[in-house]
Amino acid sequence: MTTHESATAAISRVTPDRQRLGFGWWSSRYAVIVVWLALIILFSLLEPNTFFTAGAFRVIFGGQLELVFLSAGLLCTIIVGEFVDMSVASNFGLSAVLISVLNVTYHWDVWVSAVVAVAVAALVGLINGLLVVRVGVNTIVVTLGMSTVLLGLAMWVTNLQPISGLPQSFAQLALFNFGIKGGLPIGFFIGLVLMLGFAYILQFTPLGRNMRFVGENREVSRLAGVRVNRIRLGAFIAAGVIAGLGGVLAAAKTGGFDSSVSQTYLLPMFAAVFLGTAILQPGRFNPIGTLIAVYFLATGVLGLQLLGATSWVANVFYGAVLVTAVTLSTILNRRAR
């Protein structure tokens, strides 16, 4: 195995074709997608008038902008082996409240407010990165503390009140539907481009390959000449930028933001990212798998809601799906090897 060949490629090179194309190989990559389709069929049969409709399609695909950006932010650091950045949701929330406060309360131009909000989020990522990479503090400790600080700051700048009143024209940044009545909002396509772009970078660019190397073995990567610390620091900054952009879009979508809302995304965000490791690239954090996981989870939650399930069921669903899917993928991936 050469230093520039990934471990997966090496395994693929030596694995007999029969194993690679067997049931285990396919099921470890596509089982969740099959289950997703089965859920769609099940809910459609149980609720044909409400689930199997364009409206439900819109809810599932058009309503996950926040989760897509949050998951992408978390992926940035997890892929380079930083386990885990707990501050993504709070950074997202701070960005969303900053643009709202600057524009609504202090009457700054909304676009200038957006730039400032994203810049602050990037700065948070930089601080996280410096503390973890340069100083060497544990990732969870730094980001958990930072998460609490950011949440407090968001509550402080808003005085614990939700802020509303961003210009209606600014909402088009997230809600524009290309003039197609009932169409998906632009936020869906922005999230799609983000994840596809991320996947492209990871798979086809030297930067992406280096990120994978660093995530798989820091010391080997360093010996191979990869600038490990620069990659890790860049990952934290990228996570901040993505969280910041997501926050701005979330605020645009609802015309403002409530500082306490960001924490509610924590469970779905982790569920989507970890469930993504059971899709397409078993055992590996990957953007496309995560994107599919986001919509899989949204499908399950909406289906259960339409069936009349009370809210606690959604929490059980998130947790059960996550544990089941990752366990299944681990077992199937082990058999496939």
Partner: protein, 386 residues
């Protein structure tokens, strides 16, 4: 090219294909959204008068008549303010006003967040008792949620106010150590439903996101719905229970309710803390252009949304005045002075009158949206704190 790269390209192509399919499917015009509702000002003259009265600026605040003696001896004491959750922005306004009010007589107010759970509420009450608080003011917490702790506090001589709940509780009647400052929510819920009835010309189909944190929001809504039945016999309502303990489900449950009944043309959220996730759910369902949203328990951000056109109407209570009222009641309990009946003023805001008020934090704190701003001086006079 390596096999891995081939598979990766296939995956990306699959994903890109999903994107193209999404674009194509996005053009599907199987539109489930409700038809736009009428915005005509139809409705009986009584209904129109009721709405106008709810929108009018009250001419005075209800200030008690009897002064309190012995307040100066309470300097240096601490009173605990425990809202059910600090997520609800209204409690911030009340808490700040209460702090200012009792600060005029040298009493410190300590706020403890109930976080929507009996465990945290109980911990706050225990903290207050342990600290030797002079009084405890609960906000939107039913007595039974923390009965043991409250009984112990009262037995230890710490008086308690239950505010923003029902006028009384037969199981826990008011006495020398317990008083109630009832929520005006029946009035705000009624005003909002009357506005909807008038705005829709008597034909509204309303989704109500009703708070499930405690029994009283449902009781308030029951009162309001009884009035709606008289004002708007053809109006239809659907209740969707939401909770601050399960905030993440507000948006998807709203979307699901709108999908289940595409003819819904009004969405009512009884507490402003649920407004933004409710709006998120409405947008996800793709009916933001055809559904009008109204909110109760409104605060500054909610009224800003009315002014910006994101909200059709909002009704709130004089949260700042309520802080001073709560201060007055706790002082009466502590000094064993007779406690009378109290009512928190409310007002309905819509595009009709939203431009008549200044939407700033200072204006909210002053109470000018609900009446004349002389009430701090009036209360200080009663307490001998001028």
């Amino acid at each position: 090219m390596t096999t891995t790269a081939h598979r990766a390209r296939r995956s990306l192509m699959l994903a890109s294909g999903i994107a193209v399919a999404a674009l194509a499917l996005a053009g599907c015009s199987a539109d489930d959204a409700a038809a736009p509702s009428s915005s005509s000002a139809a409705g009986s003259s009584d209904l129109a008068k009721a709405v106008a009265a709810a929108e009018a600026l009250p001419t005075s605040y209800p200030i008690p008549a009897d002064p309190i003696s012995g307040v100066s001896a309470l300097k240096g004491k601490t009173v605990y303010y425990i809202p059910i959750t600090q997520q609800a922005p209204q409690f911030t306004v009340t808490g700040t006003a209460l702090k200012k009010a009792l600060g005029t007589v040298g009493i410190t107010v300590q706020t403890c967040d109930g976080k929507g759970t009996p465990t945290d509420i109980g911990a706050c009450i225990g903290q207050a008792q342990g600290a030797g608080a002079a009084g405890i003011i609960l906000d939107a917490i039913p007595y039974e949620l923390a009965a043991n702790g409250l009984d112990a506090a009262r037995a230890a001589g710490i008086p308690v106010i239950v505010s923003d709940q029902g006028p009384t509780d037969d199981k826990y009647p008011a006495d020398a150590t317990l008083a109630y400052l009832p929520a005006p929510a029946p009035a705000t819920d009624t005003a909002l439903l009357q506005w909807i009835a008038k705005d829709s010309g008597g034909k509204a189909n309303i989704l109500i996101n009703q708070d499930a944190d405690g029994p009283w929001p449902a009781a308030y809504m029951k009162t309001a719905l009884a009035q709606l039945k008289k004002d708007c016999p053809d109006c239809k309502t659907t209740i969707n229970q939401v909770s601050s303990a399960n905030f993440a489900q507000v948006a998807p449950s709203t979307s699901a309710a709108l999908l289940a009944d595409p003819s819904i043309d009004y969405v009512f959220t009884d507490f402003a803390q649920f407004l933004q996730p409710t709006q998120g759910g409405i947008q996800s369902a793709g009916v933001a252009d055809t559904v009008k949203v109204v909110s109760g328990a409104a605060v500054l951000g909610t009224y800003q949304a009315v002014k910006a056109g994101q909200l059709a109407a909002a009704a709130g209570q004089a949260a700042s005045f309520q802080g001073w009222q709560a201060g007055d009641i706790i002082l009466r309990l502590i000094t064993k002075t007779k406690v009378g009946d109290y009512a928190i003023p409310t007002r309905l805001f819509s595009p009709t009158n939203i431009d008549s008020v200044t939407l700033t934090a200072a204006a909210e704190a002053s109470g000018e949206w609900f009446g004349p701003t002389t009430f701090p001086a009036d209360f200080k006079k009663l307490w001998g704190a001028e």
